[in-house]
Symmetry: D2
Subunit: 387 residues, 4 copies
Amino acid sequence: MDFSLSPALLELQQRTRRFIAEEVMPLERDPRQTVHGPSEALRGDLVARARAAGLLTPHASRELGGLGLSHVEKAIVFEEAGYSTLGPTALNIHAPDEGNIHLLEQVATPAQQERWLRPLVQGFTRSCFAMTEPAPGAGADPSMLATTAVRDGDEYVINGRKWFITGAEGAAFAIVMARMEDGSASMFLTDMDRPGIRIERLMDTLDHCFTGGHAVMSFENLRVPATDVLGELGKGFKYAQVRLAPARLTHCMRWLGQARRAHDEALAYARERQAFGKTLGEHQGVSFMLADNDMDLHTARLHIWHTAWLLDQGQKCNFESSRAKVVCSEAEWRVVDRCVQILGGQGVTGERIVARIFSDMRSFRIYDGPSEVHRHSMGRKIVAGRA
Amino acid sequence: MDFSLSPALLELQQRTRRFIAEEVMPLERDPRQTVHGPSEALRGDLVARARAAGLLTPHASRELGGLGLSHVEKAIVFEEAGYSTLGPTALNIHAPDEGNIHLLEQVATPAQQERWLRPLVQGFTRSCFAMTEPAPGAGADPSMLATTAVRDGDEYVINGRKWFITGAEGAAFAIVMARMEDGSASMFLTDMDRPGIRIERLMDTLDHCFTGGHAVMSFENLRVPATDVLGELGKGFKYAQVRLAPARLTHCMRWLGQARRAHDEALAYARERQAFGKTLGEHQGVSFMLADNDMDLHTARLHIWHTAWLLDQGQKCNFESSRAKVVCSEAEWRVVDRCVQILGGQGVTGERIVARIFSDMRSFRIYDGPSEVHRHSMGRKIVAGRA
Amino acid sequence: MDFSLSPALLELQQRTRRFIAEEVMPLERDPRQTVHGPSEALRGDLVARARAAGLLTPHASRELGGLGLSHVEKAIVFEEAGYSTLGPTALNIHAPDEGNIHLLEQVATPAQQERWLRPLVQGFTRSCFAMTEPAPGAGADPSMLATTAVRDGDEYVINGRKWFITGAEGAAFAIVMARMEDGSASMFLTDMDRPGIRIERLMDTLDHCFTGGHAVMSFENLRVPATDVLGELGKGFKYAQVRLAPARLTHCMRWLGQARRAHDEALAYARERQAFGKTLGEHQGVSFMLADNDMDLHTARLHIWHTAWLLDQGQKCNFESSRAKVVCSEAEWRVVDRCVQILGGQGVTGERIVARIFSDMRSFRIYDGPSEVHRHSMGRKIVAGRA
Amino acid sequence: MDFSLSPALLELQQRTRRFIAEEVMPLERDPRQTVHGPSEALRGDLVARARAAGLLTPHASRELGGLGLSHVEKAIVFEEAGYSTLGPTALNIHAPDEGNIHLLEQVATPAQQERWLRPLVQGFTRSCFAMTEPAPGAGADPSMLATTAVRDGDEYVINGRKWFITGAEGAAFAIVMARMEDGSASMFLTDMDRPGIRIERLMDTLDHCFTGGHAVMSFENLRVPATDVLGELGKGFKYAQVRLAPARLTHCMRWLGQARRAHDEALAYARERQAFGKTLGEHQGVSFMLADNDMDLHTARLHIWHTAWLLDQGQKCNFESSRAKVVCSEAEWRVVDRCVQILGGQGVTGERIVARIFSDMRSFRIYDGPSEVHRHSMGRKIVAGRA
C-alpha cells in the first residue's frame, strides 16, 4: 500500500493550484457570469488561460492534446481545479464535456473523433449529453427511455423530448440516447444546428456553474446518418455505464475542491470574526464543526482515491463508484452546509462565495443518480452477494 | 390539557386556507416578483386582496384594525399564510413588519403609534429594523453594537453602518438600534427619507421572499428628535428581547407553512411519478422520507403551539423560544431538503416551487440567532439551573 | 388550546415524584435485583410501598382499585414513575401487565375480570402476553402467526412456540394469541400452571428491568375451556391493536422518565467534573449536548401529551401512536446516548445508573414494532392519503 | 498511489481469517467466558492455539518472537482478528497489552525488555497500564494527574488511586503513570505482586471482552527501584503520546473486524427472515441500512489504512490518529447499531453475537479520548493552522 504521489504529480498539483489562484479565482466575480453559468465569452477567456498554462483538458489522451491523466491523477488535478467555481470550466473538465470526452475516446470511430472529439478536447467547442427525459420518460430510472430512433434508409429518425440537458444551449454537438424498435437503446452523434433540434427553454436551476445552463429540448424528426451512430447499435445502456462510473467520480473530485474552498473561507472567517469575547474559532461549537469538516473532506478524498485506483486497475467499479458518489456527495454537502452556518449572515449572501457553492452543489446529491437510487442498487447487490 | 381549537379559530383557519389557495397561490409565478422579493406593486396587490378578505395584519390589535390574535391563534393563521411563498406578504405578517408592529404596540407613545404604526398596520407602509452590523459590529452577538447615538440639544445624532436590513429599500421608516454614550443601547424611530440615511446597496441573498430585499445602509449624522426615541432611553437590549422572543416564533410558524407546502408538493409527485416499476411513493425509501417529514412537521407544530401558549400565559419564554427556534428551523429544513431529494431534478429547478422554498429557508437557521448561539444560550442556562 | 394541568394532577405528579425519590430510588442497588430484572421479592417490596402510598396501578379503573387515570394523566404519572429504573415495577405499570390490564378492562367478561384482572390490579399477581414467535412465525409482522388453536368439544387445544414473552416466568396467567382454523386469530386466557405450558428458557437480553425476564415458551396440547376465550373469537388482531396503541404510548412515557433521569445524572456530573481548566458543563461541546437533550426530551413529551389527548378524545390513534413511538424511542435514545458520552468512563460502568438505562432502553426502538415497521406503515398511509 | 497488498500479506490475511473461523469462533460461547471477559483459562487456550498457528503477537518484532508487522500490515491482520470477539485475545493483540508491547519495544532498557516484555510477547503474562484516575484526577484530561512519585534513596514511593485499569486483575506487571515533584510525569514498571498495590474492586462495565476486566486500584507507598523507571524521567506525557497514537489506531482495526462481523450476521438474517411477504433484505428500508453499513465500513477501513501508512512513514500522526479514532469509532458504532435494528428482537439478546458486540463497543467512543476531546483537539489545531 502506498499513498504517496509521484514527484511529477505533485508538481502538476502545485502548478494547477497556482493557476487556479492566480488566473481563475480573480475572475470569480467577473460580470460575464450569467444566471445560468459562465458566459461563452468568460468561458473562452478561461479556456485560453488554461491552454496557455498547459493545463487544458488534462484527462484527454496525449494524442489528442491532453495530459493523458490516469484516474488517480485526475483525482489530484480535478480537486485543485474545483477549488474555484470557475476552475472546471477553465480546464475543460466540467460536465458533460469531461464525460463525453471519455466516452468518445473509448467508443467513437476515428472519423467521429476527428470531427467531434478533437475540437472538443481543444476547448473550441462544447457538447451535451441528451439522456434525461421528463415524465413519463427516463429520469432516475433510465429504462423508461421514451425517445425513439427509427431506421429510415441510411438514416435514423429521432423523436422525443429531453430535459436537464446541461450545456445544450451553445453546444456544437450532442450525444443522443434513444430507444430502438427492438427495445434496446443506442447513442447517436449529431451537430446541434441540424433541423429537428429545438431548444425549448433554459431551466431555472439552483446551480449557476454550467455554461449554457440546463435546457429542455426536443427532437422532431431529427435525421441522423447511420454513420453517426456512436459505437455499436443497441449498446446505449452499456455505454451509459462506461460513461457514468468515471463521470460520477469526477463530480466527486470537482466538488471536493469546492467543499475545501468553502471550508477555507469559513476557517478564515472563524479566525477573525469576534463574538462573545473571542473569535468564532475559539468557540468549541465552531471548532467542532471545523473538525467535522476535516473528517468529511478526508473521507471524501479517500473514497475518491481508492475508487480511482480501482478504475486504473481496469475494474468497472459500478458498485464502488455508486458508493463513492453517495459518500462524497453527502460528505461534501455537509461541509458546505456547516460553512454556511459558520459564516452566518455572510454564508447566505453574495458577500462570500460560499452561498454560491451551496446553491451550486445541492443538485449533486441528485444527478448521476440520487443517493436513494444508489443506496437501492448497492443494497440489492449486497443482499445478492454481488457487492 | 386541551389541544382543541375554538370554532371561531377553526373557521379563521379555513378562511385563511381558502384565501391563500384562491387569491395568493395563483400569483406565485407573477412576473412582478424580483430577484429580491415581491415588488412593491405585487405586494400592493396582495395586501389589497387580504384587506378585502378581512385578513390583513391579523396580529395587530382590534383598535388598530387587526384581529387581535393571541400567540396560539397566530400559530394557526400564520402557518396557513406560510403555505404560499407570498402569503406572509399578503397578510402583512412578514418580517420585519410583523415584529415591528408587535414592538410598537408595546412600547411606542400614542403619537408615535398614530404616525408610524397605524399606516403600517393598514398595509400602506413598510418598515425596517436596523440592528445588525458588519464586523466588527453587532452580529450574532448584539453586545458588539457599534452604531452610536449622541445627544445634541433636543436631538440625537446617529452614526454607524448596518447590513442585512430587511426591507429597508422602500420602507417608510426604520427602528434604529444605537449605543449611547453610557454604553447602554436605545431604539430610535426615523422616517427613511431623512438626510443622513443612505442605502449603499442591496445584498445578493439566497432568499428572494422579502419585498425590498436586504440592504447595507449607513447613518451619517442622522439627526433624530428626542421625541422619536422609542420607549425609554437605554432599554434597547431589553426591547430587542421583547421583540425577539415572539418574532422568533412567528418565523417558525410561517416556515412551518412553507415546509408543509414542500411536503405536499413532494407527496403529490411521489404519488404519480413512476420509477423502477412502481410509483416513487411505493418505494420504501421514499415512503420513509415522507414519514420523517410528517414527524418533523408535527414536532415543529407542537413546539410552536406550546411556546405560543406559554407566551399567552404572560411568560417571557426566552429559553423556550430559543428551543422552539432551533427545533423548528432544523426540523423544517430537514423536511424541505427531503422534498428536494424526492422531487429529484425538479427539486432543484423552477419547475416546482420547492427549489424556491429551499433557497428561501436556508437563512432561517441563521437569523434571529444561529442554532449555535441558541444552543450556547440554552446550554448555559441548563448548566446554571436556570432553564 | 391549554397546556395546563389541573391542581389535582399537579398534586399527583408531585406525590409520585416524592414517592419515587424517597421509596424507590433508594432500592435501585438492592441486591435482590437479578440479571433479568427485579426479583419477585424485590417486586413485592416495591408494590407494597406503592400500595401504602396509594399509587398502585393508577391506570386501572376506580372500581378495580386504581385511580382511573386518563391517558393524559398517565403521561404525567408514568413519566415520574419512569424516573427510577424500579418505578414502573413499583407502581405496577410495567409491560406487559399495564397493557394487559387495559385490554382486560375493555374486553374480558365480569367473571374473567374477577378471576384474573382483580388480583393483577392489586399487584398480587403478574401476567404475560404470548404473541411473538420465533421464525418463521409472528415477529414484526403479526400476520405470520403460527401458533394454532383447534376446537375440541368445549375446549380449544393450543400448540405453538413463543419467545420474547416478557414476565412469563413467575406469571400467574397468560393471554395467548393463536390462529384459528379459519385463518383468523383469537386470544385465550390461561393460568400458567396448566399442563401443556412449558417455559423452555429465559433469554439473555440487553435489558434487565422486567421481573421474570423474557422467556421462550411452548404450548403442547394446552387445553383451554371455551369460556376462557378473551372477548370474541376471531378478533385477536383487532384486540392486539386495542392493546397496542395505548401500550406503545405508555412505553414512551416510562422511557421519558428514564431519559430525564439520565439527563439529570449527566447534568450533575457536568456541573462538577473538571477537565481542561473548567467544568465539563462550561465546555461548549458538552453544553450543546445538554441543550440537545432538553430539545429531545421536550419533543418526546409534547408528542406523548398530544397523542394521549387524542386517545382521551376517543380516537384510535393508530397513525399517531406509531408516530409518537418512533419519535419518542429515537429522541429518548439520543438523550441516553449523549449522557453516556458526557459521563465518559462512568457512563459505561455501574458507577452511574446511566449505563443501566442505556442497556435497558435499546430494545425500545425494536419492540412494539421496530422504527422501520412504523415508518413503513406511516409512509403507506401518507401516500394513500389516510394519514 | 497503490492500494494493493503484497502476496505475503494477502496470504497472512487469509491464514488469519481461517484461524479465526476454525479455531476461535467455535469458542465464542465457551462457558469459561466470565462477566468481565474471557477467563484466564480460556485466554490460555486461545493463546496456545494462536501460538500453534504461528499467529501470536504478530505486531512484536521478529527478535522478540512476533511477525514484525508494519502498521499497514497490522491493519489487515487486526481487522481479521477482530472478526471474533475472542480474536484479539487469541492473537495477544488486545488492549492494553498490544500498546504496552509497542511502548516497551520503543522505550524499555534491554534488561526491562528481557524481564517484562519477552514473556508478555510470548503470551505467558499480561500487563496493565495505570494512567486513568477518578475525579479529581486524570480522566479525559491527562494533565490532572494526581498520583505522585517521590524519590526516596534509590527508590520512588508511589501513592495514588487509579480506575478503569484494564486487565489489572491477573496482570503480571503494570506501567504506572505518576506525577513527579517538579510537576512532570514519569512512567514506572512494577510487578503486580508488590506490597502497596491493591486491587479494590472490579468495575461493572458494559463491555465483557477484556480478560481481567477493569479494576479500581490504589498505590499506597508502593516502592519502585529507580532502575524500573520506564525510559527517561519526566517524559511520561510524551511516552503516553508514543503509546496512544498507534494504540488508538489498533482499536479502530479490531473494532472494524467486530463491525464487519455484525454486518455479516445482520446480512445473513436479512437474507432469510421473512416479513410482510418478502425477505427483510428485499425491503428497501433494510437494504438502505446494509448499504450504509458498507459505506461506513469502507470509510473506517480507508482512514485506518491511510493513517497506518503515515505512521509507517515515520509521522507522529497526532492529528490523523485523532481523526481516524473519531471517524472509525462513530462509523463502526453506527454499523453495529443498525445491525441490532435489522436483527430486531434477536439483536438485543444472546441469540446472536451482535448484542454482545453492541455492549462491548459502546466504550470505544469514550476511551483513548472521547470523541469530544478529539474534536476539541482537532478543532484547535485547525484554527491554529497546525492541522
